[in-house]
Symmetry: C2
Subunit: 338 residues, 2 copies
């Protein structure tokens, strides 16, 4: 049996198979006009919109032997929605762009769509439209633009932290980076490995969890962003490049020093991360592992909402992040120089 590829179907045929997948992501109230016209129309009840865009590239941001298309679709939506949440906004809609080699299997694209739709439903953000393009041999680029609404709150920027504020995290740390480390070391759990379910020892299950977090991004605390805005967060950021690097951006933009508490961070390294990687590497991932898409924010000490873990304080200074008084050794990462 030959596998059906993009070049075997018309764009209209492909869209007619994708639209039903996205159909039930579209709620009735806010979407004034969905896919199919020149552009979509979305309600912006509070008189402003929050906008972000982020792409994933085959071979750079995912490997086909590790990640399924459904996982990739989930991840690209999750990382965009995390950026919306980090402004204190509620996600209200998504646009998708796909540039793909015409030899790409249609089934792969439909599975990507399933993952996008799943994350869209989780976030309550309908798929409003998108764009399909042919790309060169082997190339696939998936882009998402996410739109959000501030619901009357002001946007929580990176530059509002002040000495005396506490620093808190909502969600996990280091899990995605830990999963990547395991996959790179050949000890990982890929989409091709059978799920363990209730079987497997605790080490195998720890590895499975960490790798799944890396492959699809899980448990992004979307609702906590608007809650933090309502609670008066002074600064907030989505943790995409690692805790220390991203808090460094808050510290630099705000003109403060951030002092983190090693004991508070050790709690994030405990459990599956330490089991799978050992204590030292686990702590390294907590400090510098990327693509976690948890939220970090600063608050007045009495204003920290439930569910946030305090990990440090802001003090006088500018731009430094220290752990127990020391500048931690954090490896860099750059899109182009790798």
């Amino acid at each position: 049996m030959t596998r059906e590829r993009l070049q075997d179907v018309s764009e209209g045929e492909l869209l007619s198979r994708l639209f039903p997948i996205f159909g039930d992501t579209v709620g009735p109230a806010e979407v004034l006009l969905g896919p199919g016209d020149d552009a979509a129309v979305l309600a912006a009840p509070s008189g402003g919109v929050v906008l972000t865009t982020d792409s994933m590239v085959r071979g750079r941001d995912w490997r086909d032997d590790w990640s399924s298309p459904t996982e990739i679709g989930h991840k690209v939506v999750a990382q965009n929605v995390a950026d919306i949440a980090a402004m204190g906004a509620v996600p209200t809609g998504l646009l998708i762009t796909l540039a793909a080699d015409p030899a790409t299997e249609v089934a792969w694209v439909l599975a990507l769509g399933e993952g996008i739709a799943r994350a869209a439903r989780e976030a309550g953000a309908p798929v409003l439209g998108g764009d399909l393009s042919a790309a060169g041999e082997g190339s696939i680029v998936v882009g998402i633009t996410a739109v959000g609404d501030l619901q009357g709150h002001r946007a929580v920027r990176r530059d509002g932290a002040e000495p005396g504020d506490v620093v808190a995290v909502r969600g996990s740390l280091g899990r995605s980076g830990g999963g990547l480390q395991l996959l790179l070391a050949g000890r990982g759990h890929t989409h091709r490995d059978p799920p363990l379910g209730e079987t497997g020892d605790s080490l195998a299950r720890a590895i499975e969890v960490l790798c799944r977090v890396h492959r699809r991004t899980e448990d992004v605390p979307w609702r906590a962003g608007p809650e933090a805005a309502a609670a008066g967060a002074t600064a907030m950021i989505d943790l995409s490049d690692g805790l220390v690097r991203d808090l460094g951006r808050v510290a630099a933009a705000s003109g403060t020093r951030i002092e983190l508490d090693g004991r508070a961070l050790a709690a994030f390294a405990a459990g599956p991360l330490t089991l799978a990687l050992g204590a030292e590497e686990a702590m390294r991932q907590v400090l510098s592992g990327g693509e976690e898409h948890s939220l970090a924010a600063t608050f007045a000490p009495a204003a920290v909402p439930d569910g946030w873990e305090v990990i440090g304080v802001c003090t006088d200074g500018s731009g430094e992040v220290v752990v127990d008084g020391q500048v931690p050794p954090v490896t860099g990462w750059d899109h182009f120089s790798g």
Copy 2:
């Protein structure tokens, strides 16, 4: 002298060179938060936003030997803004995504940015942010998401045309398709050829104009979209895939027949198109040439605004487009099957 490539500079360095290029596209009033945070914040004064996205892929949507990066940047913005205008909206902002081979020259990317900024200024749509990714060898994908505001008008969809309405065009027809035809035939004018200015005979200048329209997209009638909405346009579409195909979408969505007047269309074929391509090919390009990004709309006969050329009428029927009573032979185009 070695040429500086993306892999030679950090993402932060590249952004620090791009931001000034986009800086003066940002007006003070509507942009509540520009590039540099997790997401941008844009005013949506009328309580809704119009959203569209469109990408260009190297080797598919442009050829480096024909088009300069500045032209490509101008074109990708123009085609997105045309979609916003075709809903009757005013463009209010742009997001950019670039996925590029790390071996791409930095100068190429900065020139792309110049073209994006030029079109953004023309359209009055600030660059709000974007995303940079590394892509595979030789691959460059440029994506734009455009946002617009309806300024209190309802969105002009494709499905509102009614029997008795007239069909009108704002802008040119067939020029971009004609330019592509000349480039494909080896008779074209590329970005590497010196501009003719006041020199050159009328044929050479006709070829130069048509090819420049194809390479960068010129004279998109952005302001005419909101004007048509204000004048009560019943349906509107951006002409991206050719007049007959795009009007076929209006006819199908609206459940009408569209009867075009060959004499009215011949006026669009006259001049540079006929000079460069001959009368027959010129008319073929008027009917089916793509990427013109002019606007077509339907109006009650007394409601056609100044500057729009009436080219036909809507009658009882469903989905057909005829020219002087005949179904025209129009070649198809598909992104994936080519």
